[in-house]
């Protein structure tokens, strides 16, 4: 470490931050790749199929299927990117970048463990809201720059949907910050620590908000059952019809990175982040104190569970009609979240509230 510090001299902090960013983004991209495989496998089993089971590494039979994401990526990488006639080339290229930038940048403030966080800033929640709100530009620009009616219609639908659900999400985050009494994500997790394990987490006092947040998250990432943005039965594939090759893959990466982000945020804000669900006393009486140890593996387990639920929703529910989506966002979620802000505010004035700092 000292050697590198001397090597880079005054630029060392910048280089070190860059190294940390790469250390977050690379595993994230790997997770995205394998989330696509998990999705196909899970949905495959739910529909009594096998899913991808051919591509393997070096011909090892028990790794069958595990090479699929790599093969898909390679295929998309070598495909030609076609810019449609009359498209606005500069914006056409800019759109995928605008889509993936917020999906990556939001990870800067995510606390993976008590000490493992890139930027431990006070306004973490606000930063997340601001950055994820920019994701919609990638979609709008893609739809407009493609010079295609289908792409444009898909972009309009998707943007309207994202803006609507962002409101419900924003109010849900207001509830979380009221409960956490801080805008710092790490502080919120620390407040959920207690002697009762998973009963200390915020999903109990904020249960309606937890549901609203997860469902809005599904809608926000344009996933089934809210994927009218790319309703293939009506408008082919929505905003990315005209994209091919790696440009399409970048949109895909952004969607899945956003999914993982939403799942991580739900785990941190409502499911105790890196905290263990097992109370100390129970773990000790079982003779396995390691069960009560907090750490990154618990966060990974919670994120995986929420992601599995996302895939489960996709396999289970039929697609919403567009007016029903808007109704759910504006007429159901918005009143529920605002109502719960009032309930929470009243609750916090009584001695029944036990989550004080």
């Amino acid at each position: 470490m000292d050697f590198f510090q001397n090597l880079f001299g005054p630029t060392w902090p910048a280089v070190w931050t860059l190294v940390k960013i790469v250390a977050i983004v690379l595993p994230l991209l790997l997770c995205v790749a394998y989330l696509t495989l998990a999705e196909r496998k899970v949905i495959g089993y739910m529909q009594v199929r096998l899913g991808p089971n051919r591509v393997t590494f070096f011909g090892i039979p028990w790794l069958r299927g595990w090479g699929q994401p790599i093969a898909d990526g390679l295929k998309l990488l070598v495909k030609e990117i076609i810019v449609p006639t009359g498209a606005n080339t500069a914006l056409f290229v800019l759109a995928p970048i605008m889509a993936i930038m917020p999906a990556m940048a939001a990870w800067a403030v995510i606390p993976f463990s008590p000490t493992l966080v890139l930027a431990d800033i006070d306004a973490g929640l606000l930063y997340i809201m601001a950055i994820t709100g920019m994701g919609v530009y990638g979609i709008i620009i893609a739809g407009w720059a493609s010079n295609s009616k289908y792409a444009f219609l898909g972009a309009l639908r998707s943007a309207a949907q994202m803006v609507s659900y962002e409101l419900a999400m924003g109010f849900a985050l207001v509830c979380v910050l009221m409960a956490a009494q801080s805008l710092n994500l790490g502080e919120g997790v620390r407040l959920q620590q207690g002697n009762w394990g998973f009963l200390n987490w915020f999903w109990i006092p904020l249960f309606p908000i937890f549901l609203v947040y997860v469902i809005s998250g599904v809608a926000e990432t344009n996933r089934l059952p809210f994927d009218v943005a790319e309703g293939e039965s009506e408008i082919v594939a929505g905003f990315h019809v005209e994209y091919s090759g790696m440009a399409f893959a970048v949109f895909f990466l952004a969607e899945y990175a956003n999914m993982i982000l939403i799942a991580t945020l739900a785990s941190i804000m409502f499911l105790g982040g890196w905290l263990s669900p097992v109370p100390d006393a129970l773990a000790n009486s079982l003779g396995a104190p390691w069960l009560a140890a907090d750490g990154f593996p618990w966060l990974a387990a919670k994120v995986s569970f929420v992601l599995f639920c996302f895939l489960w929703f996709r396999a289970t529910f039929p697609r919403y009609r567009y007016d029903q989506i808007m109704r759910l966002g504006w007429k159901v979620f918005l009143p529920v979240t605002i109502g719960w802000i009032v309930v929470l505010g009243a609750w916090m004035q009584t001695p029944l509230w036990v989550w004080w700092k």
């Binding site: 606000l126 950055i131 920019m134 709008i140």
Partner: protein
């Protein structure tokens, strides 16, 4: 030049170029996107001033919501530049007056030190645990709670007025009630009739 100054000039250059682009761009969509860039860069400059709440609020409100709707409208409009230019000479005197006033105000603000105004002294350096968000929240909800509430009510009135202006009920529109749709039972739709089968002669 310290690193801090370098960052400031870097963002300022982008901000000025983007702002110039907004008023010179031929394509309205390009202009709107450059405005987004200008907002984002000014948020970055605010972060440098340790006003992180204002910076994030700027991105959240203007970049995340207002400009999205703006872009929406601009994209769907078929803007005819020739018709927009029609009234140029009629509007020129008023526009020039506003521009002159703006220039004069900016000269007064920026050139105040040459005219002998010392201006406000630089604020003292902030303590270590200072949180801009917390300070702002404390002020807004204690000292300035009434102005804050009044501003909120005015905004609410504006929202209600905007909705009331555009709301019109058309009699012939057909509405669906999703609650009724989902609570439908088989008995509401299908009537099972028991009929004796007729004899074939």
């Amino acid at each position: 030049m310290t690193f801090n100054e370098f960052v400031f000039y870097f963002f300022s250059t982008i901000l000025i170029l983007a702002a110039l682009g907004v008023i010179t761009a031929r394509n309205p969509v390009h202009a709107a996107l450059l405005l987004v860039l200008a907002f984002f860069t000014s948020a970055a400059i605010w972060v440098q001033l340790q006003a992180e709440f204002l910076a994030v609020a700027l991105v959240l409100v203007y970049v995340g919501a207002v400009m999205v709707l703006f872009l929406f409208v601009v994209m769907m409009l078929d803007i005819n530049m020739a018709r927009l230019r029609e009234g140029f000479w009629n509007y020129l005197p008023l526009g020039a007056l506003v521009a002159l006033l703006l220039v004069a105000e900016m000269v007064l603000v920026l050139g105040g030190q040459y005219a002998g105004f010392a201006g406000a002294p630089a604020p003292p350096p902030l303590p270590a645990g200072y949180s801009n968000t917390k300070e702002l929240g404390r002020l807004v909800y204690t000292e300035y709670v009434y102005p804050f509430e009044i501003a909120a009510v005015i905004l609410l009135v504006a929202i209600v007025a905007a909705i009331a202006l555009t709301l019109r009920r058309r009699k012939q529109t057909k509405h669906q009630d999703p609650a009724r749709q989902t609570s439908v039972r088989r008995e509401d739709r299908v009537r099972i009739v028991s009929m004796p089968s007729e004899k074939r002669d």
